[in-house]
Assembly symmetry: C2
Homo-oligomer: 240 residues x 2
DNA sequence: CCGCTAGGTGTACGGTGTACACCTTTACGA
DNA sequence: TCGTAAAGGTGTACACCGTACACCTAGCGG
């Protein structure tokens, strides 16, 4: 913080240094702890200095997203649309898993940046060059939604029942909770019971996120394929 | 604020009054303007008074979600699973459209409340009583994700290009922007052009949200149906 | 050498959630 | 009828947030 930071302070800040520092910081401490003040401190600089390189926090977040969109890497050329899309989504997913903060940020973003538009454009391109009609491509893009980025909106989530503090909650209390769950939410209970049985864990979501993601992704892709093959148009399906 | 609020203040606050006032306020001013202070003011009470009925803001938000989950209404009984699910989702969607703040709140919720669990349980129940295996139901629930609540994660969104201030941006500037978009994002441009042509608007998203939503929903439901009919299990598809 | 400008500083304002100690009203058992 | 305990409302205070605004300073082109 003293000599090193001091030396680093010599070479002046710039937008990129700010953005990548923000990415690193968010990776480390989580997006909810990323404040302008904290980021400035990390850069050995006074908070207001950041505003010489970034208009406001909104723009900072946008820039951070841009930064990691750059990590996704280009689409593989000359692949059939389906595998091209699949690979790109899964590769985006890898990036997003490295930067867990990105999901909420992307979701709440309001002003889409050129980099993001570029990514989406490439995405649409895969369908179009795959022979999809413009019409179908449009709807398909909507149907992909945020799955385009490699994440699903999980409403399930862990943390509901007992937790990771294994022995924290005594076994009998946990049993009582399970019992109550079985009474009040029998269907969820069934599902959870099977999922829990599949791997060892007793409670905490026994779900393979990657598997669930690919399950849904492939379901969609297969659907797209079918529509494409039967020359679907928005008029035919159920009329706009 | 004076006599009426004073009179209302006589009858003491309770959790429900707090929650429904919060819902109303969020409906009116948006979730980002819903602060404890503002809500307290609306109730003619000092901020800290709220904490006698709600542990903290997190819990307030959770309670608000509970409140509107109650608006969704019960599932229709004895309908085939597909239409039952479809109806329930679309009815949830109606509620969520009335309370636009609910989407971000549900998405960021971490501690799922019983009411939410109840809704999800009913959801799972429709598949199970429809004959779905527990296994398939599990994956199907994940695949639904937040679509269960009637909303899609729109990464597209308006506001990107020009806006609603029709004459604000001169026509030539708008043309220049369109030109630039055509150059940088040719695929998106094609899609947008068609969508814009379909209805009158020149720019602003020419998308029928309801249509897009149902398109994706039906795509998923059809996919589920197919898997169900062919007795899909997680082993068969692509192996867990 | 001057002066302009890009970049860093310091202070200050209005907002947030909420901890904590306090007061007031109400309900109820003796 | 009264005393008291609890439930509910109040006031103050703290730490934090984003950022407006005025200022200073170093470096560079004319």
């Amino acid at each position: 913080m003293t000599l090193l930071a001091e030396a680093a302070r010599r070479i002046p800040l710039n937008r990129d240094r700010v953005l990548s520092a923000a990415v690193v910081l968010a990776d480390e401490v989580g997006i909810e702890s990323l404040s302008m003040r904290r980021l400035a401190q990390e850069l050995g600089v006074v908070p207001m200095a950041l505003y010489k390189h970034v208009a406001n926090k909104e723009e900072l977040l946008g820039g951070m997203v841009d930064t990691i969109v750059g990590e996704i890497g280009p689409p593989v050329p000359d692949a059939p649309w389906k595998s091209a899309v699949r690979l790109r989504v899964l590769s985006a997913r890898q990036v997003l898993l490295r930067h867990p903060w990105a999901r909420p940020v992307i979701e709440t973003r309001t002003n889409v940046t050129p980099a993001v538009l570029g990514y989406m454009d490439g995405f649409a391109g895969m369908f179009l060059t795959g022979g999809f009609s413009v019409d179908l491509t449009h709807h398909v893009m909507h149907a992909m939604g945020s799955r385009m980025w490699g994440f699903t909106q999980e409403v399930f989530d862990d943390s509901a029942g007992a937790g990771n503090q294994h022995a924290q909650v005594p076994a009998d209390a946990r049993a009582a909770m399970a019992q109550q769950m079985a009474e009040n939410f029998p269907h969820l209970f069934k599902i959870a019971a099977v999922a829990a049985h599949e791997d060892g864990s007793v409670v905490g979501n026994g779900c393979d996120d990657q598997y669930e993601f690919e399950f849904a992704l492939d379901l969609l892709l297969d659907g797209f394929e079918r529509l494409h093959q039967q020359n679907w148009t928005s008029g035919g399906g159920k009329g706009k």
